[in-house]
């Protein structure tokens, strides 16, 4: 990777997939792929970000995303600081801004941020000089998840152009869905959404996606299904009557998938609720790429950290 000059991203921060160009997405996916090779070596570490300090600023717990970022950071030899705070920073008397200013005083280069409020990563770019990576802001965006999903699909199908991807579940409360829609559309894929009306944002069709409320209408027409986690505990009871009913009408089951002409590739951002949104046999089948996604998650984050971390100071 060091022999030829590295192409540079046009973005200085990764705040979301909205408005990220096809060129930038391709570069991030390509770079992610080249780091996959590093992960398969016996010594899984390169000195690329030696001397850089990265803070993982998690205001909302997310073990998976945080561990994937931390692994990626350590394998690039960055110095890593984890900052976790549960709930609102305001409730503890210190403002979010104070927290960030304090952390920044320790001279850091990058911040990976997870927060329940949409817009926090953008807010950070205004109060900090560090490079910002969005690890999920409320139900807004989760760009690294979309990139790892796209990387997995591209690996399987060779290209995203013309690929038909279905996203099933609670679209309203999903940051994964929005980022996937933006990214996949930019890369030329056709996106269909499926879920109960109560979980579908009212104006989502304006993003150029098709909307279905019956899973059986989607299955025959897609190459891949991205099945979202149903988080009943977080939702008002008004969005759907029960897990059982959800599973009966929207659950991705082997029986349903058999209706497709050819096998459908299954993705899921994890952690899965077996036999709620997805049945155990589907999750464990040969067409499930769920564990593959986890590996790609580390690789693509290494790629992003590398591209943004070696870009020089953001302006």
């Amino acid at each position: 990777m060091t022999e030829t000059p590295t192409p540079k991203l046009h973005i200085n921060h990764l705040l979301g997939m909205e408005n990220v160009s096809r060129e930038d997405i391709t570069l991030m996916l390509d770079t992610g792929m080249s780091f996959r090779e590093v992960l398969e070596r016996p010594i899984k570490k390169v000195p690329t970000l030696n001397g850089k300090t990265i803070v993982n600023l998690f205001f909302e717990s997310s073990t998976r995303t945080r561990i994937a970022f931390e692994l990626a950071e350590r394998r690039l030899s960055a110095d890593v600081v984890n900052f976790a705070a549960s709930g609102s920073s305001v409730s503890k008397g210190e403002t979010f801004k104070d927290t960030v200013k304090n952390i920044e005083a320790m001279k850091i280069d990058m911040i990976v941020v997870r927060h329940e409020s949409p817009g926090v990563p953008l807010f950070l770019t205004r109060i900090s000089d560090a490079t910002i990576i969005n690890a999920g802001d409320g139900a807004h965006e989760h760009p690294t998840q979309a990139l790892l999903d796209m990387m997995t699909l591209r690996e399987k199908f060779g290209t995203l152009d013309g690929l038909r991807v279905g996203i099933v579940g609670d679209i309203s409360h999903s940051r994964v869905a929005l980022s996937n829609i933006y990214g996949l559309k930019t890369m030329g894929a056709k996106v269909s959404l499926c879920g109960p009306k109560t979980m579908m944002p009212k104006f989502i069709e304006q993003l150029g996606v098709e909307v279905f409320h019956n899973i059986d209408d989607v299955i025959p027409n897609v190459d891949a299904l991205n099945v979202l986690r149903i988080q009943r505990e977080r939702l008002h009871a008004v969005l759907f009557p029960s897990n059982e009913e959800y599973n009966k009408y929207f659950g991705v089951t082997k029986k349903r998938l058999e209706k497709a002409r050819k096998p459908i590739t299954i993705l899921h951002p994890g952690p899965i609720n077996r036999d709620v949104e997805i049945s155990a046999d589907v999750a464990d089948s040969e067409h499930s790429f769920i564990l593959h996604q986890v590996l790609n998650g580390v690789a693509v984050r290494m790629g992003i950290l590398f591209l943004l971390g070696t870009k020089g100071k953001a302006n």
Partner: protein
């Protein structure tokens, strides 16, 4: 202190006396002594050159939050009234969502006395809580509040959700000629929403407030008014369907009125894409369709009043994550500029219509005395430099808080000063 003032060659517009002419107004000891094209003055008369300036009956902002008592870090009665004066208002009605809420005669008295002490040129008319502690459970002591000088009843900041209570407030309040001012928001529909439900909220993944939250409550309230009579005023309407509901209610000759704010007719939810917390208000900024209909409603008279909903919050409170920021923006010092820029310059309203909405109608709704620019009347004026082009700089605001989405906006039209209670205050 000068006791006589000559407002020389002003463009006097007074809807009540149907005046619209360039003339001079001589004021002595707070009263209008003479109105004529040419007035000779004595040595101690202060002459104010009003060439190109509109002189209108003093503006009254009927929806404001002065924050005192209880939230003096956001605004005090003194800073609020200084800001109001600077924005061209000689009267303000202030909402009762203070701490304690304005639900006792003592608090009404406190606000009135603080106002008289601090900025006597601006009159303050307290609006009392419709329910005890604004909890929406029991009637506040309405008779006592009326006697102490409250001019209306409202739980603004929150709606009165219980339909039976709305009925009782209208019934009881009507005995004292107090209008009920409703903040129309069905909380069960609004939920944890922070912006308008629409395409923008979808792309931002933001919890949203549907337009239904406003219209279902307004529609229900209008039905209650039709049944029990009483005087009803809908605060800060924001969606186009609400204007149609008001139009129909007025056709039925119900005693209803409504207001809009300058931000709702000047901005759309597109602004929220910046995640600037100064775009967070309740009701939220809506769509261009809504703005267009608000302009129609202003033009055809369905909308009676323009009120700022001046809602100061400190920088610390606003400079936080979007979902945690409080709702509201300051408004006194940009209202005239936005009205002239968005309504007069676009020919949506005539000056007479605008003055009706900023001065005549709010006073009528709150049953305040009329202001006439006539010899023998008390002098109470707002002076407007309609041609002045200026750039909003929140740091120059007299308000203690600076939370405005209009910072750096170029506006046309600005208050030049006010005259009231024998005092002239020039705007900065």
């Amino acid at each position: 202190m000068n006791s006589s003032y000559l407002f020389k060659n002003a463009h006097v517009i007074d809807p009540l006396t149907k005046t619209d002419e360039i003339t001079s107004v001589l004021v002595e000891n707070g009263n209008i002594k003479k109105i004529a094209k040419k007035i000779s003055t004595e040595k101690n008369t202060r002459v104010i050159d009003c060439n190109g300036i509109i002189l209108a009956p003093g503006f009254c902002d009927m929806h404001t939050h002065l924050r005192e008592p209880g939230y003096e870090h956001k605004e005090t009665i003194e800073t609020g009234l200084t800001s109001a004066a600077n924005g061209g208002f000689t009267a303000v009605a202030c909402m009762p969502n203070t701490n304690p809420a304005v639900d006792s005669a003592a608090t009404v008295e406190y606000i009135k006395s603080q106002a008289r002490k601090s900025v006597p040129a601006v009159e303050v008319f307290p609006i009392a809580a419709a329910t005890k502690s604004r909890e929406g459970k029991e009637l506040s002591p309405i008779a006592e509040l009326a006697e102490a000088g409250a001019v209306a009843l409202s739980d603004d900041g929150s709606p009165v959700e219980n339909a039976d209570l709305v009925r009782r407030i209208l019934e009881y309040g009507s005995m004292y000629n107090l209008p009920f001012i409703q903040h129309c928001e069905d909380k069960s529909l609004a939920g944890k929403g922070v912006i308008n439900e629409g395409f923008i909220s979808t792309t931002l993944g933001m919890s949203a407030i549907p337009r239904l939250a406003e219209t279902t409550m307004l529609q229900r309230d209008v039905q209650i008014v039709e049944y029990v009579k009483g005087k009803y005023h809908a605060a800060h309407l924001s969606v186009k369907e609400s204007i149609e509901i008001m139009r129909q209610a007025k056709k039925k000759k119900l005693n209803v009125s409504c207001e809009v704010t300058p931000h709702h007719f000047s901005l759309t939810d597109e602004e929220v894409r910046s995640f600037n917390t100064n775009t967070k208000m309740n009701p939220p900024l809506r769509t261009q369709d809504d703005v267009d209909e608000l302009l129609v409603g202003l033009h055809d008279g369905t909308i009676d009043v323009i009120a700022s909903d001046h809602a100061p919050h400190s920088i610390d409170e606003k400079d936080v994550e979007y979902i945690y920021a409080p709702f509201g923006i300051v408004g006194f010092e940009t209202t005239i500029g936005l009205c002239v820029t968005k309504l007069i310059e676009t020919k949506t309203l005539t000056w007479k219509q605008l003055i009706d909405k900023l001065s005549v109608n709010p006073r009528k709704i709150l049953s305040l005395h009329e202001i006439k620019i006539e010899v023998g009347e008390k002098a109470n004026f707002t002076l407007i430099d309609a041609k002045k082009e200026w750039t909003v700089d929140v740091q120059q605001f007299k308000s203690k808080s600076k939370n405005s989405p209009f910072d750096k906006w170029k506006l046309k039209g600005k208050a030049m000063g006010i005259y009231n209670n024998g005092m002239y205050i020039e705007s900065k």
